[in-house]
């Protein structure tokens, strides 16, 4: 019989809230910690495990139940938090030597709201350094491995969060998505990963990578689970001036009959697609057609080959500015150098890893005098045009459907020495960030090697609930739930 940790999150929390039910938050947290202890030596999803904090939070939930108070819709649900989000009293490293030893003085708003809804934080999850990467191999503390095949990457940058959920160590995790960093690892590990509209979830307490693109979101085993965490976190926050004030009501599960599903020519898989990914996409389209959905053919040239160049100008430009604060004076690492400039350069040269340095260099270059007009300003103009083109597309289609990634999970080291090959992993995800629209990756089965494949739905900016409802309907239609890795069976999942 499956452990309660493997129940749908709503059911898990409902049972914890029921004082007559023997299931408690403490039971869930202890089981989560047991699984982490059993599996994480191989998966390496966590940079820091926090049993004391998790048990204290579980105790508070259980005490609330005993006292007759409502502990929230996520009562007792263990949560992994990507280690670029602050959790008060826990290390915050961003998987960088630069922040080794840093302890967060406060909770990120997203974390505080998840905990207020009843979540119990069991640890901080590995990531690509400062969220820059697509494999979690850029972590200064070593890579995370894909629970479905330990020789392969879990995607990135939220690879630790994805691996922790995929291996059934936790039912929910928080990630951040700047160019696909929630959706891509969700696809590669067989999960649901949701990037909300820009501004829907507060970025306060998220260490900034590219502030106009970053968005916090959930990774989960189902759309319903992801939606519960999203709803607990969303909403205006005085600490983040970019959070939206509009409030969306939950949408009923839509009928797929008549749903207009956009097929964007420039977001197709190309002439020599990965067979498993192409087959999964074709199956989904056939199923949708069978359910009465209308396929709408669209062309959005800026969402295709232009997306990556725009992204790899805008994101590094913002990163080079945001990461200027790490100079050896105020945070973490300090490496002595000749004079103040020497100290800055030595600290940053030794504190940042290779990929972060590359992006800082590119960002500095595209913002520098003589080049800013040709690169940065032109990219921003193209970004504006892309956002307008997508807005227009959503007058013709309710959602867009694409593959999430061009291929399933690749082998560790396969792309590590070729930054451009790694960047191509983001080709199908970055346009949603550039336009600020919500996007969600859903499990769509496995390929001949048993590797998970993900499909992606986008909706217009602000239509998060409509997207979640459509995704839940598609999830039910496809009937390809999050696959269980063999490794997770070892712990009884």
């Amino acid at each position: 019989m499956a452990h309660a940790l493997d129940l749908p999150v709503a059911e898990m929390a409902r049972r914890v809230r029921d004082p007559r039910d023997p299931l408690t938050a403490r039971v869930l947290v202890d089981e989560s910690l047991r699984r982490i202890e059993a599996l994480d030596g191989r998966v390496k999803a966590f940079l820091h495990v926090a049993p004391d904090l998790a048990r204290a939070q579980a105790g508070a939930v259980d005490a609330a139940v005993t006292a007759g108070r409502d502990p929230g819709p996520l009562a007792g649900v263990p949560l992994a938090v990507k280690d670029n989000l602050e959790v008060a009293g826990l290390p915050l490293t961003c998987a960088s030597r630069m922040l080794a030893g840093y302890v967060a003085p406060r909770d990120a708003t997203a974390v505080a709201r998840a905990v207020a809804a009843g979540c119990c934080v069991v640890g901080k999850a590995n990531l690509d350094e400062f969220a820059m990467g697509s494999s979690t191999e850029n972590s200064a503390f070593g890579p995370t491995r894909n629970p479905h095949d330990l020789a392969r990457v879990p995607g990135g940058s939220s690879g630790g969060s994805a691996a922790a959920v995929a291996a059934r160590m936790v039912p929910l995790a928080l990630g951040s998505d700047t160019g696909g960093s929630i959706r891509q690892p969700a696809a590669l590990t067989g999960l649901v990963g949701f990037k909300p509209s820009y501004g829907r979830v507060s970025r306060s307490g998220l260490v900034a990578f590219a502030s106009s693109l970053d968005q916090v979101g959930p990774l989960a085993r189902s759309v319903e689970d992801a939606a519960l965490l999203f709803r607990a976190m969303r909403g205006h926050d005085a600490l983040d001036a970019t959070t939206r004030r509009d409030v969306e009501a939950a949408c009923p599960l839509p009928s797929l009959a008549g749903l207009r599903v956009g097929r964007v020519a420039e977001l197709e898989l190309g002439e020599r697609p990965d067979a498993g990914t192409a087959a999964a996409l074709a199956r989904a389209r056939a199923a949708l057609a069978g359910a009465g959905a209308h396929e709408v053919e669209l062309s959005i040239p800026l969402a295709g080959a232009a997306g990556l160049p725009i992204y790899y100008i805008v994101a590094p430009a913002e990163a080079s500015s945001n990461l200027a604060r790490f100079d050896g004076i105020r945070y973490g690492l300090r490496v002595p150098g000749e004079g103040l400039e020497g100290l800055y350069a030595a600290t940053r040269g030794q504190g940042f890893g290779a990929e972060v340095q590359r992006r800082i260099l590119v960002g500095t270059f595209v913002l520098s005098a003589g080049y800013a007009d040709a690169y940065y300003k032109r990219a921003m103009a193209a970004r504006q045009a892309l956002a307008a083109a997508l807005e227009q597309a959503f007058t013709q289609a309710d959602v867009l459907l694409t593959a999430t990634t061009p291929t399933p999970a690749f082998r560790l080291g396969e792309k590590a020495s070729d930054p451009l090959a790694m960047y191509l992993c983001d080709a199908l995800t970055v346009p949603a960030n550039l336009a600020g629209v919500p996007a969600i990756s859903l499990p769509a089965g496995v390929d001949a090697q048993g590797l998970p494949i993900g499909l992606q739905l986008w909706a217009r900016a602000g239509a998060d609930e409509a997207l979640l409802a459509a995704a839940a309907a598609v999830e039910r239609l496809l009937a390809t739930p999050s696959p269980l890795p063999a490794l997770a069976r070892e712990v009884g999942a």
Binding site: A241, D246, A345, R378
Partner: protein
């Protein structure tokens, strides 16, 4: 905006024809690294220069993008232009700040001397 490395071609306004691709060599990477306050290991410089060249080849494709004349800087929707009142509020205490600093004396952050002994 920081002063950039000496451009090999004249600057070009946004929306017009692209600048000619800059010459990417180790000297350019060194100059950009200096702007970015990054110490770069000389042994890594050849590989880094090649990677930098390839990345600029990729992003240089923006030059070929046809941008509508009306497209300007991306502006947030009105719903995002909400500033909170400019009022003092709680902030981190001295202890929380100094705990995460590389060096402090209990009361202040310790920073390197940078103006010379006469100060």
């Amino acid at each position: 905006m920081s002063p950039g490395p000496t451009p090999p071609t004249p600057p070009t306004p946004a929306g017009t024809a692209p600048v000619a691709a800059p010459t990417i060599d180790a000297a350019l990477v060194r100059r950009v690294a200096a702007l970015a306050r990054l110490e770069v290991d000389e042994a890594r410089l050849p590989a880094l220069t090649e990677q930098f060249r390839r990345i600029l080849d990729l992003v240089g494709a923006v030059a070929a993008i046809e941008v509508p004349p009306a497209a300007g800087a991306l502006l947030p929707p009105a719903s995002l232009e909400q500033l909170r009142p400019d009022e003092p509020g709680p902030t981190l205490g001295r202890r929380e700040v100094s705990r995460n600093a590389p060096a402090h004396d209990g009361a202040f952050l310790v920073v390197p001397r940078f103006r010379g002994d006469e100060d």
